[in-house]
């Protein structure tokens, strides 16, 4: 490798340290107007009347829009097109937008918002999953959406991966031990430092251009076409580099649709930048999830089966929720071998900001439960927690019970690395009261195998143009959100063509001029964009080699591309010279590449969530110190090893791992999206308890422990040069490792997140009173899960399909 694996500055590094990176709010257009949204003060209400005349007449106001101006709904998933740019009839959370004012400046727009009069009829509020599970009359106005499966239950899912119905219960019945545990993971939010911003304008040809802080310009483009009833060819969406995403800019946003409409109506550029409070309302953050794990294990620590139930609090809209719900159960099988697996899930609607995908999308919650339960199993069986995991590892190149195809798996090396470096064997259970070590693992997708809307087209495309000067320009729809997607793109093309990545110009995230890439989500960019880039670059390399070989009078296959030279055995031309020969021979040089993930083996209904071209693996050891008098938790050091397949740029890879550790630790110890009900004289609305950076606690530089990061390289054949993801997977083991370390320190189990000092203290008091030393959920409500779809596993002789209900009895 000439470029890959070498530590260097990222290609967009200079722009980021000079303040020249143009974020959405940095864009200024001549005659630009400013927009503000009026948001609902009620968690659940009907809009009876909106009076806009006074606001419309306010000096400096150019336009007032309401729900009447947006008859068409949208939504990121085709099955939940349940949002409107501005709510036409019903508001479903405090912060749901109902009107927009466009004015000469932000100040004027803000003033005019107060002149919009909305008459609401307040409806009963659903604040918790327990309330959402209660029966409601079909036409009751306590129902948040009329399309939900049942009352306020948005979605129910149930699968049993086994030869026949009840096989998981039978396996658990036959196990030497069965562990039953409840866990709760509180919701939290992305908190990117950049607030969402959008500028919409008509270009010189009258086409709509929208610059936006989005991770998914392609989906924004599609939604704009739908909502504004415009031909897609009349729209261009430019994803500006995101000032942090973490999933928070993965959804199509109200303000993007409304700004687009306002620019069309007024023929002038319109900008909106959400304030911090509004970013909390936009949310789409981590779903709160209640979980029940029943796991069977033999006395020597082999898992025999698992039954997982989840109850997912979705907030007010669908968002990615159907997928998020599948993800609360999809990846339990890719780390440890589960011979039989039953998974039941329910997502409910509540009158809170909509939840969606945050780093790890639906999988950190069950990972938290699974890894704590393994710690409990290890202790009961007297097996070291690292050893217990090693005994159960999924094998490389195998199928899981739920038909996921696992390729390379470097988890054993990861576990060994953190065990050795933390001196685990010498220190675990031996640090004395108040200090402890905890271990946990995780794994994650390298890109969702299926696109969000059904189609057979590539998920990522790359186009390369080479100028006769030797200048290489690479076009791709991928979106830079801080993770370094431009750097990955330049590095891979540079590696193939043997040039310096800084010689390459990247043009990315622009639906008007770049080939489609579906977006920066599900850790898909390195694998999908990377494979497409290799394909395009290899086509050009072949042409250049052929032309250069003629000049050098050697066979093209012999030529090497490195250090800006095309050479063999002392004979060489520069890359730029070789390009000139190639242009003479073939004409203008350009090529495209594209990537379609391999077809997943699962064929059952619901098999679309979970498949990925590859899976990354991580192991983590956390050291925690707990003050038994105050419950205060200090984390002095975290060891983490991540199976990245191959490292493209070690500087950035380490940054992704450390950033994940940071975010995981912050979720473990303090981050939570909490809500409270206002007193009746203030409307009784259910409101966000802490929609500010000050009140929503997150870790600062002073709280961060030392991090010891190891990158394990087990190249995966489906990945570009073997490179897997690194942006999300390393977050997963951190939260359970913290919980396990606290148990090692003071002997109490905190089975819910965040783990705050008050919970630790409560558990210590319970333990002292002989009540068991645990804080966590005590009860899992009755959820009307449907009858499970029976899908025989690969080792049951299954073919990847479910057994049809009417012939289920015949197959035994």
């Amino acid at each position: 490798m000439k470029v890959l694996g070498k530590a260097r500055r990222r290609v967009d590094g200079r722009a980021k340290v000079t303040g020249q990176t143009r974020f959405a709010d940095d864009i200024v257009q001549p005659r630009m107007l400013h927009m503000k949204l009026l948001r609902s003060p009620h968690a659940h209400a009907l809009i009876e009347e909106i009076e806009v005349a006074e606001a419309q007449g306010h000096p400096g106001v150019h336009l007032v829009l309401t729900g009447k101006d947006f008859p068409i709904s949208y939504g990121i998933l085709p099955v939940t097109q349940d949002e409107y740019p501005l709510a036409p009839q019903q508001v479903r959370y405090v912060g749901d937008p109902v009107a927009a004012v466009v004015a000469k400046d932000e100040q004027t727009a803000t003033e005019a918002l107060e002149l919009v009069r909305v008459k609401y009829k307040v409806l009963p509020t659903i604040s918790t999953p327990e309330e959402a599970l209660q029966e409601v009359e079909p036409r009751s106005n306590a129902r948040i959406h009329s399309y939900s499966e049942r009352g306020n239950i948005h979605r129910l899912q149930a699968f049993e991966f086994a030869a026949e119905k009840g096989a998981v219960d039978t396996a658990l019945g036959a196990a030497d031990h069965v562990f039953e545990d409840l866990f709760f993971y509180e919701g939290n939010t992305h908190l990117p430092i950049e607030q969402h911003a959008t500028v919409a304008a008509l270009d010189a040809d009258g086409k709509l251009t929208l610059w936006s802080a989005t991770q998914v310009p392609h989906y924004v483009h599609r939604s704009l076409a739908r909502v504004l009833q415009l031909s897609p060819s009349q729209i261009r969406v430019i994803a500006t580099p995101n000032g942090g995403g973490f999933g928070g800019k993965c959804d199509v946003c109200n303000h993007e649709m409304v700004a687009g409409k306002a620019a069309l109506v007024l023929g002038r550029p319109v900008k909106i930048c959400l304030n911090r409070e509004e970013v909390f309302y936009m949310h789409r953050g981590r779903h709160p999830v209640l979980m029940k794990f029943r796991t069977g294990v033999t006395k020597d620590g082999k898992l025999t089966g698992m039954h997982l139930q989840t109850l997912v609090d979705g907030g007010g809209y669908g968002s990615y929720g159907v997928a998020s719900t599948f993800y609360t159960g999809a990846l339990q099988t890719v780390t440890y071998h589960l011979p039989k697996y039953k998974f039941e899930a329910a997502r409910v609607f509540t009158n809170k900001p909509p939840c969606g995908p945050k780093r790890g999308h639906g999988t950190p919650q069950p990972r938290f439960g699974q890894e704590i339960q393994l710690d409990k199993i290890a202790e009961r069986l007297g097996i070291d927690p690292a050893e217990l995991r090693l005994r159960n590892l999924v094998k490389a190149n195998s199928l899981t019970a739920n038909w996921l195809k696992v390729g390379s798996i470097g988890l054993e090396q990861c576990i060994n690395a953190v065990v050795e470096r933390s001196q685990w064997k010498r220190r675990f259970r031996k640090l004395g009261f108040g200090k402890g070590l905890g271990l946990a693992c995780g794994s994650y997708l390298c890109g969702a195998g299926l696109p969000i809307y059904w189609n057979k087209m590539p998920q990522s495309g790359v186009q390369i143009l080479i100028d006769r000067s030797g200048q290489v320009t690479v076009f791709c729809g991928a979106t830079e959100i801080g993770q370094g997607s431009d750097d990955v793109l330049a590095a891979i093309v540079a590696e193939v063509l043997g040039i310096d990545p800084f010689e390459i110009r990247c043009v990315t995230g622009d639906t008007g001029i770049t080939p489609v890439d579906l977006g920066s989500y599900s850790s898909r960019v390195t694998v999908m964009m990377g494979n497409a880039a290799i394909q395009a670059a290899e086509k050009l390399k072949k042409m250049i080699a052929e032309a250069a070989a003629e000049q050098l009078e050697i066979v093209p296959d012999k030529l090497g591309f490195a250090n800006g030279q095309v050479s063999f055995d002392g004979k060489a031309v520069t890359f730029a010279e070789a390009v000139r020969f190639a242009e003479e021979k073939f004409g203008t040089l350009g090529a495209v590449g594209s990537y379609v993930p391999p077809r997943a083996p699962g064929r059952f209904k619901g098999a679309g969530v979970g498949p990925s071209p590859a899976y990354s693996y991580t192991a983590c050891v956390v050291e925690a110190h707990v003050d038994p008098h105050t419950g205060w938790i200090t984390v002095p050091k975290i060891w983490i090893a991540h199976d990245i397949g191959r490292t493209i740029n070690p500087v950035l890879a380490r940054g992704q791992v450390e950033g994940s550790v940071y975010m995981g630790l912050s979720e473990a110890l303090m981050e939570e999206s909490a809500f409270r009900r206002l007193p009746p004289k203030l409307s009784s609305a259910l409101v966000h308890k802490m929609p500010s950076l000050l009140e929503y606690k997150s870790i600062t530089s002073l709280d961060m422990p030392e991090m010891d990061t190891v990158l394990v390289e087990d190249p995966d054949p489906n990945c570009p040069f073997g490179a897997k993801e690194v942006g999300q997977g390393p977050l997963l083991p951190v939260m359970p490792a913290v919980a396990n370390a606290i148990y090692d320190a003071v002997g109490v189990r905190i089975d819910e997140l965040p783990i705050t000092p008050d919970k630790v203290l409560k558990a210590l008091h319970r333990k002292a009173a002989g009540e068991g030393g645990r804080v966590g959920p005590e009860h899992f409500p009755a959820v009307p899960y449907p009858e499970a779809l029976i899908v025989p596993t690969p080792w049951d002789g299954g073919d990847g399909k479910e057994i049809k209900r009417n012939d289920a009895a015949a197959v035994v």
Partner: protein, 156 residues
């Protein structure tokens, strides 16, 4: 509100503007002087993204009124680099201290002020100095290392 005149030094150059007097220094920089390198994450003094130097001291520009800056000297990220990067900028770029780059200008200015007072700060002092600057990407370790490296490069 009627616009009012304001004269201040920005990155070593005198600037005279007429501006809306309710504006904060952050807004004056971004909107009236087109210096969009200074960022905002809350406009309530909670995130540190808008930190600039006023007469050499780090200040949150979202909490300072433009009117308070009459005759004062303001330094922003745009003033750091000439033909080459400032050693802190180069270290940030080389060592991965800027991922999304959004909190970066505020941290660079805060770090510059720290190194002006303490050319060779301890790791703890660095962490303390930037504890008011939130970063969601890095986990801070590469930022701390880049400030240490920047200090070494300045000393050379």
């Amino acid at each position: 509100m009627k616009p009012v005149p304001l004269t201040l030094r920005v990155n070593g150059e005198e600037q005279s503007i007429v501006f809306a007097p309710y504006k904060t220094l952050l807004e004056v920089l971004r909107e009236d002087l087109n210096l969009t390198g200074t960022k905002h994450g809350c406009e309530l003094g909670e995130c540190g993204a808008c930190a600039v130097l006023i007469d050499g001291e780090p200040q949150l520009s979202c909490l300072v009124l433009g009117l308070e800056c009459e005759g004062r000297s303001v330094e922003t990220v745009e003033g750091l680099a000439g033909a080459t990067l400032h050693p802190l900028q180069a270290a940030f770029a080389d060592l991965g201290a800027a991922q999304c780059g959004y909190c970066t200008p505020g941290i660079l200015m805060t770090a510059k002020a720290l190194l002006a007072h303490e050319p060779n700060p301890s790791r703890e002092r660095i962490k303390e100095a930037i504890s008011g600057n939130l970063c969601r990407c890095t986990g801070y370790q590469q930022i701390v290392e880049a400030i240490e490296e920047g200090a070494r490069r300045i000393a050379k």
